[in-house]
Symmetry: C2
Subunit: 149 residues, 2 copies
């Protein structure tokens, strides 16, 4: 197998064709990864989360990493890694337009479900969920691909 660097254009193509990725944030020296659904547009990755550890950590430290992969086989895969910054889209008049944009963009993806349809059971107790829209400003993007040979 040969591992090659991908161009920015090739990496962007992977982002456009995928809606499931992983996002890592960090508190002090401890990183934390969670899978997430997203939609890419221009310089941003749009997504939403439920209130919890991840959102608290990203509010305190906006530096994040996003990883997306497209795996066709053991010797045929592409991975894209992004360094970026968390930007919350709160329910305020100032962010109204960006929130509507994020909602509509995400709603056009196959993986979308209205956040309100999800319930969480924690130790058998149903928790109400608060939904937070956010975007990641892409600072740096890189991609690698594996090719048989």
């Amino acid at each position: 197998m040969v591992i090659q660097d991908m161009t920015r254009e090739m990496s962007t193509e992977v982002l456009k064709g995928t809606h499931l990725g992983r996002i890592a944030c960090a508190q002090d020296a401890q990183p934390y990864i969670v899978p997430f659904f997203f939609a890419y547009h221009d310089r941003f990755i749009y997504s939403f989360a439920t209130a919890g550890t991840r959102v608290e950590w990203m509010r305190a430290n906006p530096l994040v990493c996003v990883e997306v992969e497209k795996i066709a086989g053991r010797h045929e895969w592409q991975t894209v890694v992004i360094f970026g910054q968390y930007q919350e889209l709160p329910e305020t008049p100032e962010f109204h337009e960006e929130r509507v944009f994020a909602h509509d963009l995400l709603a056009r993806t196959e993986m979308w479900w209205e956040p309100g349809y999800v319930k969480t059971l924690h130790r058998g107790i149903e928790r109400p969920l608060q939904h937070i829209f956010f975007r990641i400003l892409i600072d740096q993007i890189s991609g690698h691909q594996g090719i048989a040979g």
Copy 2:
């Protein structure tokens, strides 16, 4: 969809049945995710890497996060998140047994390829690769699953 906590036993079952995951390390406040192949045994996750940014960061700060997912569908998935510590298995007599153990365990997985078979092309130039075996000591493991309903 309902999201439920998984028990430690259920989370461990996911680790046993999967060999592709993602690992995040952090330098200062910046997290960094990469996909990796691993094999789980007892309190450890065994893997190998090529020398580079990731290994340098984990040597400087051993706190890592590992994420593994098993996705059958939009409403049927399991994710496991581990907080742990990077431990390198260097080519010294002291670590010989652990290195052989890691190699043999990894070689029994379907995803295995001898690290020496991989070449990297960086800006068109073939780079020699140095392979580093390591393990992650599992400090904390948690899992969540989504169920239609």
